[in-house]
Subunit: 361 residues, 4 copies
């Protein structure tokens, strides 16, 4: 039971609205004596920050994080870590247009129906601004895991589809991802993607994306069947990200089309190491990590704030139409890469701690 809390042992609670004074995050259950610098958290936040390229919203936010508790002399103390990010660039006037109208395909409608009240300024709590808090939590989880598991542990995400344009997964190169503003791991398609997205932005339209996140160096044995399976928690984590509509583990939806022979990831021993001949399972069997690379992908739908006139209703129950101007991401999916990475870190750390508890490994 936790409306705004994620996790079981390593838990984070987020708060704050798009246009309130600040947003923030409490991380609880963090192991003690982990060395963390605020710069390490800031570095992750900077990846998600808006206004970094022509492909993202022009809202200007430093996303500067402050740590208010839970650290002493540079180390975690085992008590809750409170982090705060002040909002800076809040032009409330931009949102006058959508004060009373619901954007089709947006949570405007359902928030108002559920709560009977909503903070319409910039989407309030519905805004993807909340995800900055997760990135901060994820940065802590990452540092804990690196401390416990060593350098072999790492997580990397990339955009593998931009609207109607895919990429070749065989061309995935980790180091390419940070070299282009679209977080694409396949160098060969970047130019095409950029041109395509610029066209969409100019048309005041939007497109979706698929993000893939990979975790390496995850020990075998993480995940607690039946109802705390690792893949279940990863699906839950990714689906909680704004605008996500689908989640795959390994071959995902495509696994329905494989034969039993194609799908079975054969194994052999090479010395003490278990070698797998393929990874359709995405590193998870029966809800437990197998020691292989964990592979999760998820689809982000197109932003619902678009320029085209759309039929809708207002909060008084009248028919009307809407066209959304102002600053928006033509593809919110791009900025979902560090969020997906953060959620991956958090889920893995949570299960790492859970496994320690029950199995002592």
């Amino acid at each position: 039971m936790s409306f705004n809390t994620f996790g079981k042992i390593f838990r984070f609670t987020t708060w704050g609205e798009s246009h309130g004074p600040a947003i923030g995050c409490i991380v609880d259950g963090c192991p003690p004596k982990i060395q963390i610098k605020v710069e390490e958290i800031q570095k992750e936040l900077n990846k998600r920050k808006p206004g970094q390229s022509k492909f993202t919203t022009q809202r200007k936010e430093d996303d500067k994080v402050e740590i208010l508790s839970g650290m002493f002399e540079g180390k975690t103390t085992g008590t809750p870590i409170s982090m705060i990010i002040y909002n800076k660039d809040m032009r409330s006037k931009d949102y006058g247009n959508i004060k009373n109208k619901f954007r089709p395909g947006h949570a405007d409608f359902t928030y108002f129906q559920k709560y009977g009240i909503r903070d319409y300024r910039g989407g309030g709590r519905q805004s993807a601004r909340e995800t900055a808090s997760r990135v901060a939590a994820g940065a802590i989880a990452k540092k804990v895991l690196q401390t416990k598991l060593g350098k072999k542990y790492n997580v990397i995400g990339g955009v593998t589809r931009l609207g109607i344009l895919g990429c070749d997964l065989n061309n995935w190169r980790d180091k390419e991802i940070s070299k282009n503003p679209l977080f694409c791991p396949d160098k060969s398609v970047v130019k095409l993607w950029e041109k395509y997205l610029l066209g969409i932005r100019k048309a005041g339209s939007s497109c979706g994306a698929v993000i893939e996140v990979r975790a390496r160096g995850v020990p075998v044995g993480l995940g607690a069947p039946i109802y705390s399976k690792l893949d279940m928690d990863l699906a839950s984590a990714m689906m909680s990200i704004n605008a996500v509509k689908g989640v795959n583990i390994g071959s995902g939806m495509n696994s329905a089309q494989l034969s039993g022979e194609q799908n079975s990831d054969e194994m052999s021993k090479k010395g003490k190491k278990t070698k797998f001949y393929s990874n359709n399972a995405g590193g998870i069997l029966g809800g437990i990590s197998s020691g292989q690379e964990i592979v999760v992908s998820f689809a982000v739908k197109p932003t619902s704030s678009i320029l085209s006139q759309r039929k809708t209703i207002d909060k008084f129950g009248k028919n009307t139409s809407i066209s959304v101007k102002g600053r928006h991401d033509p593809c919110v999916g791009i900025r979902a890469v560090p969020i997906g990475e953060a959620m991956m870190h958090c889920v893995i750390l949570d299960h790492y701690l859970l496994n320690k508890a029950q199995c002592g490994n």
Copy 2:
């Protein structure tokens, strides 16, 4: 924190192994004074029961459920409802072959790695036999929701893809689903599917499937952002089902390929009712139900127990190969339909109660 419990207020806990004396389920948090007959639960269980057609495992199980607590004079009392199903057809000898070997793509390997011990008889706790417990819990959730929401509330699931064969969703007819052993809603493809699956069974191979589950009559406002979103909990629910590797809400993974214009589900008022012109969102916006039909689909991978010789290792760390004979489903996906329905009922009831708590609706 709940290894074998699912849900927040309406919670069920399952227990039991494939070849132990029994399996069972405790349902907690059920509202009082709901009339439930054991026959209503049995009816749902019978849909999942093995051995009903040539397309499922020939294990013979009555799956006869008994209620041990929580009911008095035909009504729920608000106390935990304990249900038990005795195992009948447990031919442990069938499993001698896999006692020490790990099936590629199966949880055999990870359970052993995690716990250092496993009940190898029929997969032990990993077996899909556990899902019978969920179906029993789902039958109770269904009855509660029907009592609270009336006849307009219903959930129906069907198989929309069988291996490489799809179907036409425009041909979906609810009533066709129970008329064919493959739970296919599109009459026009059933013959083809049957022939295809018989071929797979005869070859000792297996295939995957996609199941789609639809819920109608769900009130607007269910779902608690940010970390108890309705879609997040549905993704979690479906991903917890054995062999599921991908989950979609509405347009799901495909939403990445839509334009903002295509994706936005336009709205208008018709009297007091809100009308939507499309349902890419699958009835969920910002994690909250919109009042539209809720549409979830998920992919089930092919059964890992196949006849073909596959490279693998044994529990002593030796290289070996495996070929699995004995009774198995050529496509476990088929039997996942009532399970998906059950999980849908449970998640919706849970959020119905949660919404009552916070918002009093």
Copy 3:
């Protein structure tokens, strides 16, 4: 959120009514590879069993426990352990008298008000019969802790007050407790207590009791401040036992009357060991175990089923009076000793696992 579940990682869920077919318990989160014999669980249950002396209810129950899951070849597998105890001696006719009337001071009234329905047979779910399930769970927790911590770990409870009669805590001898039917650790008062309780039983009256439970060999560092403090969870555990109205840790309520000097438990080092000069804290400081003996005591109120005529109302809202005949414990507190021990084991194991998770100790 867990109406009928106790614990965080090591969790048990109980179900069943006094006069239903059976009661039972699911233990989840138990570490794997722990050797447990059903006889070890039975032994604990036998301590709580009714009908063992003239001082307890004459209801005849074997309280024979069966394990239905979670064990394989004599060891826990890490999956849920389901235990069942069939009810035998259910003379429902005994309870005709209280079918429609509420016993003053009994949960009859509040259950009916809350749920609008109640199983009146023997108190239904309100019955202390539920506590047998906890004793079974506690037996498992005990075995896990003994396996992990060795012989130095043990828990012992005794009755330190029977109605108006106290005892001398300086006379506490562990081995005396099992030698008398009143579980009294002070040999010198047993005769007096027996005479007193016989008088109460003959008069159809009842009396309360104070139970003290001591845990030795508990490592320093268990307990998670601020809202999972060890003393908080122990208070919660003991207060959940039927008829308990007060809980003390160490000096408890009496600590209000101590001076700062008296209350401070001075410390010194003796080699590597920390020596404490007193234990007013009951082994818990700031919610964390100090390594000293953990001392919890709790008061059980007198049974509300008494022979004297008492003013009350019935379920139709009419004034009436009640006098309860039939089989009852003159002092339910006596049978609370093994229950208190069981709850102590469960809380300590839960925090042992939690501490492993966060602090890795």
Copy 4:
């Protein structure tokens, strides 16, 4: 599972250390559309604030609370409410003495043992300063309950014992409590108490206290047996307050000394109302509220920071002695009154919402 979170549906999470930049609290699960002014929260905080009389620590803190989220146009929105209180008067030099030594009877020792690191400045997270956060959360719970239940709902606490001095509960007058700096409801003993406490303060010693908290206008039916009983959660709530060692519900520990006849709270109907002739149960039967006044009392041990020289050890494992100078409360119990009230509000609201969920009342 919630180290720093309290509650099930109405949940609050606290963070912050005594001498960090700030402390704070996130309230989650609050119903929407509740009108709350920051002044209403401040008013409750002012009751707990240090430095208000010669009987409390001279640390100067405004305890000025700011609301950072979850409110819009003066009303709650159903999203998390983040509150922050900046620390002002942090003289870290005061604590040099206890940097390496453990105060006997203080959490210094156990925190260091558990986490291997501790923020020694003013007790860090162990400090009772954390309770300001609870008072803020309680103020919100109070306003919600007043909005839902009307004026008949109220909670009042008082100090009923100060060290060796008791009071006469028959003299309890609500309005006296705020008239004296000791929160004593019995006017006749105030002078004596003041003199006694001044003596203790001058001697550099400390004493304990008993606090009683009463809730009126609580509906019948709150509390979820068996493991979310109302009394269980209240015991847990009160035991979580710093320095609390014992909790009573109604007659509490004393109920062990009553006869069945004395203890049974007889009932009769007067029109539609249920009248009780006594309230030994403290308004809770079987873990469910009966509609009577809910009465909880708890004992606070003497402050462990005293002037007398005490034997202790330091963090290097050496024997030493300690005498604590500096600003301290001679009786922390006094300031526990608003904390006890706050916890009462939070537990009652939580169960009010839970009951709405399951029973729809």
